[in-house]
Amino acid sequence: MKHKLFICLFIFMSAVASMMIAGCVSQTPVPQYAENLTFAVAYTHDDMNSLSSSEIKDSVTASLNSVLTERNLKVHPISFHAIEQQLLAVRDTDRRIQALRASATGAQLILFSEISTEFYSPLSGRYRWDVNVNLTIYDMINRHTLNDKFTVPVALMYSHEDGDDAIAAAQIDIQRHMGSLIDAFMKGRSVRTDAELPPATRAAEPKLVVPAPTPAPEPVVATPVEEPKPTAEEPDSSTEPAPVKQESEGDSKTGESETPADIWSK
């Protein structure tokens, strides 16, 4: 008798879970930027115990690059070996960015990911690592930069796993931060209308042209400096919640809170 009770209860709860899976929660579509922009993309894995740096696994960089391509942005990868000497020479981001400019020909923007890893301690059967990430977007023309610095805690299964494995384990978090940083940087730039979007990226609601930026990671500190000066083509970058042309409703206004875009623009 009790078996039946339990099985019924379980089936009921499973049904609830199944309904949730079946689509009660729709994913927020990523913005599709209309401008033909190319990001020069560079990655480095800095060793905390020495001054050496190494490249990041192709599978991880491919996954991170997809954050750009799924936003209709082009990727111009900069090979680690092409810039290895410059990266080894200095560790501060500003000078490294300047060194990257020569390899970023044809790109309007640079997306530079500096990742370092550090073993923390054994923890309840796992191996706890810190993955420290410093993401920087650099505008080749205006020399604006936007930066997001964060740490992802990772618990690896095995003692033989190393910093590369920790980065692989952190890539979903890095993707989210990267997407948020790009959207913050691109705030105010035009996006494709819903009709122009590929089906997979359309919003669930037909009138929703562009979603609000992913709320997830609290960013972001950046360099400069002056208030932005919106143009006719580029609406006020402090606009909340969405950063885009609202084709059905006209420009949206206001929004007092400080956003990453407020900070970076110069």
Partner: protein, 517 residues
């Protein structure tokens, strides 16, 4: 009560020190980088309609899933002198770990801080005296790895040791050497120093293969006149006291009954003989993987001799005596081996992990009583996880475990066993228990898992909705509040013992979460 207060005070003191350092205004910016914290927790709600206490089975031999309850750990680190990349400058860090097995509203202890303790506290320092060597002073716990499905660490040393260790790290090998004292954890209130020496090495010849060995030796010296140092109360053959007297806790009774006059007790009762005690543990590890679908395979084993017990008290006819038992408890051995294999059957769609263990535990002093010191155990667990989406998974796990008592019956197969088990008992006065010398346990678990962190059997955080069922040939093979004793039986069933239902199946639903952070 005293112990609880002490734990709370220790916890509060530690938290105060850490946060004062953290909040120090003159170093606020620097300290933000220097202090960090990691941790782990699991919490579950498992309503049990069969009288159980929220665990599917008795212990982890059937896999840890649904057989463990709450746990929370906070692992803090303060980098007193940060490591400078590319230099051989001295660096040092302070580590403290607080953990315990309860949470508010989730178990009988209701999250009381008295059940948390400071299980690790140590300082690490690098590049002191010898380059590339890390010194550790404080708790020294070290292990090669963990059988994740069981949550067991067979290849672990220095678990109860406080002292100093040095670790040399190299690309192809690590070497750890340590020395310390294990007396407080082995003996607690009966503290006596147990000098512990150990070493471990891990060899990493290639990327997909490594192995390691380690050992620790505990030596408790004889200390004349110290009531906590190892002693044995030795009785001659004429005294009537045997090992069986100790098992039955009737040493004093047997001794007195042999005396012609009880008043001679104080005169003739033997003085404790000082002696020394020895224990050891040898551990091994073999790991390989990165071979197609095989992500990694871990094999761990240990062989150990447990540290002997100290003493206990007996009372007979208003006479109380302390009985030292080193010689009766110093030949307890264990051999344990376990393997776990993690397979990606269909990449990002279906992973499978299976594990197995075998253990042979024997007490050379005890040839007469049934106990967990004399048993052979083995089990196998397999867990599959299907990834419907990167974050929504279906989990299926099954296990079979067998425990065999080497000295007679140890478990009850029915509620009535306590009244009708004479046929299975060698001694009418009970050196056995129940009417089973073999306990078989099967478990099955199925449910949904929400993993915000993506695919992977061991990806966390993990939010689970599970149903688990168990069949055991033992009656009530789970922690419970069901009728177990004669008085309870009288209260609920009167004299009709046969109406007490046998309970071999157990069902539990679990809503639970687990995370490392």
């Amino acid at each position: 009560m005293y112990l609880q207060t002490r734990h709370i005070l220790a916890l509060l003191t530690l938290m105060a020190v850490v946060f004062m350092a953290w909040l120090s205004p003159q170093n606020a910016q620097a300290d933000e980088d220097r202090f960090s914290a990691g941790g782990y927790f699991r919490i579950s709600a498992r309503p049990d309609f069969q009288g159980g206490w929220s665990k599917l089975g008795l212990w982890n031999i059937s896999g840890r899933l649904m057989n463990e309850t709450q746990w929370a750990a906070l692992d803090m680190r303060l980098q007193l002198i940060k490591q400078t990349p590319g230099t051989n400058e001295v660096w040092t860090s302070l580590h403290a770990k607080i953990e315990g097995g309860t949470a508010h509203g989730a178990d009988l202890l209701n999250g009381t801080l008295g059940d948390f303790s400071l299980t690790q506290l140590y300082v690490k320092a690098g590049n002191v005296l010898i380059q590339d060597v890390v010194w550790q002073v404080g708790t020294l716990d070290y292990y090669f790895g963990d059988l994740g499905l069981y949550d067991m660490k067979f290849a672990e040393i220095f678990y109860d040791t406080v002292g100093m260790s040095a670790t040399w790290n190299h690309k192809y090998a690590d070497l750890l050497v340590g020395i310390g004292d294990s007396g407080y954890l082995k003996h607690s209130n009966g503290y006596s120093p147990v000098l512990t020496f150990g070493l471990a090495t891990r060899i990493k010849p290639t990327d997909g293969f490594e192995f390691g060995v380690g050992a620790e030796l505990g030596y408790e010296p004889s200390v004349e006149g110290s009531s906590n140092a190892p002693h044995q109360t030795r009785f001659d053959s004429a005294s009537g006291v045997t090992y069986e007297s100790y098992v039955r806790k009737e040493v004093l009774q047997d001794f007195v009954e042999k005396l012609s006059n009880e008043s001679l007790l104080e005169t003739l009762y033997p003085r404790p003989s000082a002696t020394s005690a020895l224990s050891y543990k040898i551990v091994g590890y073999l790991g390989f993987g990165k071979l197609g679908a095989l992500k990694w395979n871990n094999l761990f084993f240990n062989f150990l001799r447990q540290h002997p017990e100290q003493y206990y008290y007996e009372t007979f006819n208003n006479n109380e005596k302390r009985i030292y038992i080193k010689d009766w408890t110093d030949e307890r051995y264990q051999f344990n081996i376990g393997d776990e294999m993690n397979l990606a059957i269909v990449e990002n769609r279906f992973d499978l992990t299976w594990a197995a263990l075998f253990g042979y535990h024997y007490d050379k002093d005890d040839k007469i009583s049934a106990s967990e010191r004399n048993r052979m155990i083995w089990s196998i667990v397999a867990r599959g996880q299907v990834y419907i989406t990167p974050t929504v998974h279906i989990l299926v796990e099954t296990s079979f475990a067998q425990e065999k008592s080497l000295n007679g019956n140890l478990w009850r197969k029915s509620a009535g066993s306590m009244w009708n088990n004479d046929g299975g008992i060698a001694s009418a006065r009970g050196l056995e228990y129940g009417d089973l010398d073999k306990r078989n346990t099967w478990q099955g678990k199925i449910g949904f898992v929400l993993n915000p962190g993506g695919a992977g059997i061991f990806a966390r955080p993990s939010l689970r909705l599970l149903y688990g069922t168990q069949y055991s040939n033992m009656h009530n093979a789970f922690v419970n509040s069901n009728v177990e004793t004669q008085s309870q039986s009288n209260e609920f069933y009167g004299a009709d013992f046969s109406s007490i239902p046998d309970r071999h199946w157990h069902h539990v639903i679990s809503i639970e979460a687990e995370a490392w952070f």
